[in-house]
Symmetry: C2
Subunit: 441 residues, 2 copies
């Protein structure tokens, strides 16, 4: 039976999950694959510890370099995370003719455009299903399942930590700060939660999805990104009364004429989702990806977006895809980003000012007669019409919160109006702006 | 650019959808595939009609035989439907070295075990993603995305017609008969709706999913199958009050020891699903497949289960998968049923009497004191305990409906108790039995 020999870089949670599958699920995998996937070696800085797993058949080393250059390894699984030294090890592995599978969204989002041609040059494949949506096979669904479709939009709940925090804030009426502390205590959020809660992790994943959907190169640096840290328990309650739930979404849409994608809209921000939408029901640390295409219509994939076992499952699915064509040509696999390399190009992004949205606004109003009229007048002067307005309870400083829902307008227009509103002497502090998607089904 | 030449059998709704994609989406498909998929010929009995599509570049013929034997065709798309002559044409196409893609679940469920080895013998592939879940790439997700998992259960809402009827009955409080008539008028249900409403179509699809999940041969004839025609508006309301929604589910679970699947449980019936489950929110003609595996945990895929465009999208996804390895070996593709041919075998089914479930019972009680006590006594004698009991309104014949929810018991046990209950002189007519799944997340 043909054998593909695997080396793992990084025996953290996911690395041990992958090792567990390769060791414990070998018989099942062979029955499906007709080939054997053998775990040969693993590298980690700390080897003197209890792995909770019998690794006696695996060559352990504290030097990743020894794995990426080893003669008896055909495929390297990179689970170090972050940009460097992950990038260098991956390139070194490919230089030595090894296929690569990674769960590293930061690496792909930032260095993918360097890695893909490098892989092609060395005749190897690079798999990264685990980088987006954890255990949900969303890249495969988009790249292969929806391959006959012009993609009309991609919406994703892509960060389990944020979804956990938002769910808990809603269920318990608790503040962002309190829930974040709890999430950190439970290990659901990092000590420095910036990457997750400020939307950067979601932007990494969205940039990969958008590139795959529209044939653009990955443009992570240009994604408009807003996190969830400014959302209050009162906002969650207010939008719920209006029939919505707040989700941190990654959103990608194409713009152009005659079916040709000329510009791509990409943004990450807390979004009001109608309670009737499937993705509004996706709670806790679950992820979801909604793909709309001109033929499939709407398709929603929901599952565990993180965690040892689901992520490891996605890593091994990639290993098995590569094993199917091993040791033959990687040209039999779908191209990593769903399009042939020579047609991919950097498509201009739609500037955020031009993006159309509906808006939820929370204003802190000093209790003076006429202030609502002033605000409504400014909005009207910018051709922004209101769908709903509600005065909320007075706070300790005798200020009153007022929430508003607008109809569709452009971001530029809205921001211009907000600048004028914030300049009013009757408005205290900043206006909180949340966007609302006009879901069309 | 390498070209794969396609012929279509049957220009009905789906056939025209496939033709539309191949003609209109050619440029996009080439950019993704790096190969050209060319629609060469199509066969249909009636050609003298407006197809709503410019087929001037396609060779039209009224003889399917001319397509399956043509020298200039590499892949045949079978969209005739039903068992014969679909089976004969598919085999003839394979005999002539042509790959086959079909949306025909009946064909695969009934004749798959004849077709798969025949395809292998002739070095061709057979794709049938469109046969299950329409536009949802659920077979690919199960076969490739979850390939590293021992599958713990598959639950599917697999028939759009039934889901449409159940949704409408709930939303409008309407009777089954009225909604069925409406669905027929709208073209959502056939003049003879038996295949859909009695669960046969769902059983076709479930038998394919179960076989793929557990490595068993397809055993469609042995699926326990109950339809939705006995469900009343009052049942839908009663279960809703209890926190559930009725969905026609296909359910497949493995049974065995030490990770070895020894028997397979397969059943299709109306099922009480907790309102909090994702699949309870899947309404109208949408389909959903929930796959649970030992590593992915739970994954839910939702989308359009039928219709021209989504089904055609799935057909073309299969064409593109085959085109990727064309004209090279089909051994680079995942095996059609997810397992190597030589390890697949007919696994015994778990007899329905042994299947464990919770139950919803609707009894029509002649209004006599003591009857509830008699019923409860019989249930208790069969070690069946009650979770809830509710007396409903009196009907015209002065009978009273009583609904009950039981705790977990076996089907055999429940049926024995029901036989005794139905024999009571105080019970009118049959007891309606609906099953309730103990969803475990």
């Amino acid at each position: 039976m043909t054998e593909i020999r695997v080396g793992i870089l990084g025996l953290g949670t996911i690395g041990l999950g992958v090792a567990r599958i390769l060791l414990e699920q070998q018989d099942l995998m062979s029955k499906r694959l007709g080939k054997k996937v053998r775990l040969v070696a693993a590298a980690d800085r700390v080897l003197d510890r209890d792995f909770g797993l019998d690794l006696s058949t695996v060559r352990l080393c504290d030097d990743a370099k020894a794995v990426v250059t080893a003669d008896d390894i055909d495929l390297v699984v990179e689970l170090i995370g972050g940009y460097e030294p992950a990038r260098s090890f991956v390139m070194e592995a490919m230089r030595h003719g090894k296929h690569v599978v990674t769960a590293n969204k930061a690496l792909i989002a930032k260095h993918g455009e360097e890695l893909f041609p490098f892989a092609a040059e060395h005749g190897v494949s690079i798999g990264f299903e685990a980088a987006v949506g954890g255990g949900i096979p969303c890249l495969k669904a988009l790249r292969e399942g929806a391959a006959a479709n012009a993609i009309e939009s991609v919406y994703g709940i892509l960060n389990g930590t944020c979804n956990f925090i938002l769910t808990k804030m809603e269920n318990e009426g608790a503040s962002y700060a309190d829930v974040l502390k709890e999430a950190q205590a439970l290990g659901y959020a990092e000590a420095d939660p910036t990457f997750d809660v400020e939307g950067i992790d979601t932007a990494h994943k969205l940039s990969i999805l958008a590139s795959m959907a529209y044939g653009s190169t990955i443009q992570f640096d240009q994604v408009f990104t807003e996190g969830i840290s400014k959302i209050g328990a009162a906002d969650i309650e207010a939008v719920h009364e209006l029939g919505y739930r707040i989700k941190l979404l990654g959103i990608a849409k194409p713009h152009g004429k005659n079916g040709k994608v000329e510009r791509v809209e990409m943004r990450v921000h807390p979004t009001l989702v109608p309670l009737t939408e499937q993705i509004a029901q996706v709670s806790d640390s679950y992820n979801a990806v909604m793909i709309s295409g001109d033929f499939i219509e709407h398709s929603v994939l929901i599952g565990r977006g993180a965690g040892e076992r689901p992520t490891a499952s996605a890593v091994v699915a990639d290993i098995m895809d590569i094993a199917r064509v091993f040791p033959h040509g990687v040209e039999f696999l779908a191209p990593p980003m769903g399009y042939q390399a020579d047609v991919r190009k950097a498509l201009p992004l739609m500037p955020m000012e031009e993006v159309e949205s509906e808006y939820y606004l929370r204003l802190t109003v000093k209790d003076m007669p006429g202030v609502i009229a002033s605000v409504a007048t400014i909005l009207a002067e910018h051709q922004i019409s209101l769908e709903a307005m509600q005065q909320k309870e007075r706070n300790a400083a005798e200020n009153v919160a007022v929430v508003m829902l607008t109809h569709l307008t452009t971001e530029g227009n809205l921001q211009a109006a907000i600048r004028r509103i914030e300049a009013l002497s009757t408005i205290a502090g900043e206006v909180l702006i949340l966007r609302k998607e006009p879901f069309d089904d």
